[in-house]
């Protein structure tokens, strides 16, 4: 007779428990724990020694946490931000440096560290942090953008230019070049911008870049230089097989010639375009 482990009566019992009831009981248990039994009472900090004790306790908690979950960046960040809130900047810095030892590739850490320095007005410290960040992670554009923005806000134009130059040495994406050019144009450095554009079309020899260069010349240069640009671009455009861009280019070129009242040249351009590329509906 094996009764243990084997129930003879296989009917369901008269009173059944429901899932909702189980869940409800679990929740009640949680609440009673949280609200009544196991939470420490809220204490007010009255003087220096109490503050010291509170800090000691918190620090111990944080250090334990990072010893347990050192791979989780979030706990480190919380620790550093708590130290910042306690206005203990040296300790905060040490925490930040320790995280960076763990994971320097995490660009978010660098961003937060630099923001910490900037918010607390340690400009040279911030510069140091930024410089290290862009040296270690040169392909993360956010770092460059934010560093440049900081120097820009501080009005250190020389610094901005220097950072941009450093960035351009890495041949970054189009948008980086465009932001540099915009910066130069803000201060009306036309010749500089022109040189930049030359470098730009060397670095990104696409039709779009040439069109951008030409537009710049139309806005800021004279007809002669614009025509020069367009003509140089012509060879590149013909060589490139990209029809969409090419047709945009031809339209831009022809518009420019039309605006210079050189309708004959505009016609020639259209003829040329029709010969070499099959257009998908140019608006003449």
């Amino acid at each position: 007779m094996r009764i243990c482990g084997g129930a003879k009566n296989k009917n369901y019992g008269p009173i059944q428990i429901t899932a909702e009831q189980i869940v409800g009981e679990a929740r009640e248990l949680e609440e009673s724990v949280i609200h009544r039994h196991h939470r420490p009472p809220k204490q007010k900090i009255n003087d220096g020694t109490e503050l010291g004790e509170y800090r000691l306790r918190k620090r111990k908690e944080f250090e334990d946490l990072i010893r347990r979950v050192g791979w989780n960046v979030k706990v480190w960040v919380k620790y550093a931000e708590w130290e910042e809130s306690q206005k203990d900047f040296d300790r905060a810095r040490s925490v930040w440096e320790r995280v960076l030892e763990v994971d320097y590739k995490n660009h978010r850490l660098w961003l937060k560290y630099a923001e910490f320095e900037m918010k607390n007005r340690f400009i040279n410290h911030a510069r140091n942090v930024w410089h290290r960040a862009i040296t270690l992670l040169p392909r993360v554009d956010q770092l460059w953008y934010k560093y440049i923005h900081m120097e820009n806000m501080l009005g250190n134009v020389v610094g901005v230019r220097r950072i941009f130059e450093m960035w351009m040495e890495w041949m970054p994406e189009r948008h980086a070049w465009l932001s540099y050019i915009k910066f130069e144009l803000k201060y009306k450095e036309i010749q500089h911008a022109r040189d930049l554009f030359e470098r730009f079309v060397l670095c990104h020899p696409t039709v779009a870049s040439w069109i951008r260069y030409a537009k710049f010349e139309i806005n800021n240069g004279d007809a002669c230089s614009t025509r020069n640009v367009f003509e140089r671009a012509l060879d590149k455009v013909v060589a490139a097989e990209d029809d969409e861009e090419a047709h945009k280019f031809f339209v831009a070129f022809a518009d420019f010639e039309a605006s210079c009242n050189e309708t004959h040249r505009a016609e020639c351009i259209y003829q040329f375009a029709l010969h070499h590329h099959v257009p998908k509906g140019i608006n003449c």
Binding site: E30, R127, Q142, N152, M153, V158, R162, Y187
Partner: protein, 314 residues
């Protein structure tokens, strides 16, 4: 009634305890009386109609008149000089004194009844709306949404002789333009693509818009520094110019603004406390929310079948 209120008993807002009669009230009362007299003459010929029935048209006003009561109580100063008038009006018109005591009471009661009826109707409709959806508490299936939509614009469609497929014909020009704009816009990047080249550049551009370009200071700095256009590999990399305090302040302020803005990127969702509790914990609840987001729409039918106990035959 110990207090004497400045209210004419014929006034349509008489039942409102805060109302005080003004010029406007008296004009309205006068007009009403005129109409009443004409009506009275016609009714007197038809039947020996009691005065009570004539009073009934006036009762229509208390319902509509309740809206007007807001600004009226403020015009207290006007009511005093007008005090002698209503007394005179009462004396002149022989038929109306009856309204002052019983009729006023009746008008009040009728007003209350109608008010209650209206409010009951609204509550019934709301309750019906509230009670219906819980049949499918986990999510609204597409069919229900379609039916809802059909109900909403069905009448309009039929009025114009349109089909559901031509529902777009009901849009106004502004609504249509907005729809076109939405189609043209590129969808905002989400997920891992949020910080792509384009968005970073746009964010940078947006931030630089706030920087003032001071061309004179720029020129001054140009003269002061012989190596203004320095290269990346310049040896003067360590030298930094003196930064004025207010520039630093501006930078700190901008950072703080950015922080505040960051907080408003995701809004706090309303806590739906009627929803079934299916978690034992806060972490569990969070997990359930995430999993519902990911798999909710695929498991909707299955869940509904389980709740119902049987699967539907389609």
């Amino acid at each position: 009634m110990s207090e004497e209120r400045d209210v004419h008993p014929d006034c349509r807002n008489a039942s409102n305890p805060y109302h005080e009669c003004t010029d406007y009230c008296f004009r309205v009362i006068a007009e009403a009386k005129l109409r009443m007299q004409l009506h009275h003459q016609s009714v007197a010929q038809a039947s020996g109609g009691s005065r009570r029935e004539e009073a009934i048209p006036n009762e229509l006003y208390p319902d509509e008149g309740t809206h007007d009561d807001g600004p009226r109580p403020e015009e207290n100063s006007d009511s005093e000089p007008d005090q002698p008038e209503p007394a005179q009006e009462n004396m002149e018109d022989g038929s109306f004194p009856k309204l002052s005591s019983r009729q006023k009471k009746w008008m009040e009661l009728r007003a209350k009844m109608q008010e209650a009826k209206k409010r009951n109707q609204i509550e019934i409709a709301n309750e019906k709306k509230r009670m219906e959806p819980p049949t499918e508490s986990r999510g609204v299936s597409k069919q229900k949404w379609l039916e809802d939509r059909k109900k909403k614009i069905g009448k309009l469609l039929d009025a114009n002789g349109l089909d559901m497929t031509k529902a777009y014909m009901l849009d106004t020009q502004e609504a249509a333009e907005e729809k076109y704009k939405k189609w043209d816009k590129d969808p905002a990047p989400f997920g891992w693509d949020v910080f792509n080249q384009r968005t970073l550049y746009n964010a940078y551009k947006k931030r630089t818009k706030n920087i003032e370009v001071d061309v004179e200071e720029y020129n001054r700095m140009k003269e002061a520094d012989p190596e203004f256009y320095r290269d990346a590999s310049s040896l003067q990399y360590g030298k930094a110019p003196k930064i004025s305090e207010d520039k630093i302040d501006k930078m700190v302020q901008e950072l703080k603004d950015r922080d505040a803005k960051r907080g408003s990127f995701s809004r706090r969702r309303k806590f739906n406390d009627e929803k079934d509790v299916d978690s034992i914990n806060d972490r569990n609840e969070h997990f359930n929310k995430k999993i519902e987001r990911a798999f909710g729409k695929y498991t909707l039918e299955i869940k509904n079948n389980l709740e119902r106990g049987t699967a539907l035959p389609d």
